[in-house]
Symmetry: C2
Subunit: 209 residues, 2 copies
């Protein structure tokens, strides 16, 4: 749940054999997950596909939950930043298009990881760490809009970002409706209009502080 | 996925022994699910708890997915209607408070049913039927607001309802953040402000029709 949780020791030697094995194993997890989903994911299949001794996989990752958690941690271990388009609505729309693309990609690895977070506590925690990290990085969308004068300085960035992105997750992950190609832009516009109307403004600090 | 799927035959004789057995069995499913979650839910435990012969449970419901689907179908088999408060924002807030209460209830039956929809295709289809039915019933919130003059006649009711409710599902079901007591009202206000700003207005029909 916390973005400061320690990373697995496999990260300590980024260029060495340990890192190579991690790459091979996590690639195999993603491939198996994309082909067979959570129910078909086994330690032995991952080891065989990765060409890594199964004892190594068991020792380093423990179980399927450990493998999934490491795939999610690895997904957050990048330099991703939200696109900068010059407007709040444009930035939110670009973000939503990325989310929709990830949730509807084939093979459905992101969707399978989210589904797995309902099955494995380790995957659940890692999925929450990843989302927390992504939303934290996206707060720059709001601070840029504040600097441009599009939003008041006291804007609740997280609420705005949740409002803009939640309809995509709701429709694609929970309601499981067919992807609506207009939804990324529409949800971005809705959140930007609500923001302009003051929906995410927070009250100034009390006078007596 | 479709709300017109046939109901199980157990519904055909609402007052008889068949209906009594269904009530006992579905009560037992809810109790087992609340106590043990999907992983602890078995046909035998349900039969034992319901005091119904296990052969009867297997014959009528087939498997755990069949039991879950019937619990979800039974949940939609009521006369629930959204509260009428006199304003769009008030109606959406009342709806969101109901959703937040259901998603955070103890034992966590609604949350367990949503989680089960990632495991069982039958539960998945039944959960989607239930949501479709609930959102369809909620469209009256929008038509009342149109009649009061709060919204333009051409308002996309479903998009408005999704925008108003999605943040609750996103935070409680996917991000799994602690419940925010202000979120039901805040998400309702956000959607109402966006609606006032024209976010859900649909274009008039083309002239050449």
């Amino acid at each position: 749940m916390t973005p400061t949780a320690p990373r697995p020791e496999t990260l300590r030697r980024p260029g060495g054999r340990t890192a190579r094995i991690r790459t091979q194993v996590l690639d195999a997890v993603r491939a198996e997950l994309g082909e067979h989903g959570y129910d078909g994911l086994t330690m032995d299949a991952v080891a065989a596909r990765a060409g890594v001794h199964r004892a190594t996989v068991y020792r380093r990752w423990g179980d399927v939950g450990g493998l999934l958690a490491d795939v999610l941690d690895a997904a957050g271990d990048d330099d991703w930043q939200p696109s900068e388009t010059g407007s709040l609505q444009g930035d939110l729309a670009a973000l939503n298009h990325e989310i929709q693309a990830a949730l509807t990609a084939q093979p459905p690895i992101v969707a399978a990881l989210i589904a797995a977070s309902f099955r494995s506590e380790k995957a659940d925690h890692a999925q929450r760490r990843l989302w927390e990290d992504r939303y934290a990085r996206c707060e720059t969308i709001v601070s840029r809009a504040v600097r441009r004068g599009e939003l008041p300085p006291r804007t609740d960035a997280r609420r705005l970002l949740i409002a803009a992105t939640a309809p995509l997750y709701h429709q694609l992950v929970l309601l499981r409706t067919p992807p609506d190609p207009h939804l990324p832009d529409h949800a971005a516009r809705t959140a930007a209009l609500a923001a302009s109307a003051g929906a995410f403004a927070t009250p100034p600090p009390a006078d007596d502080t």
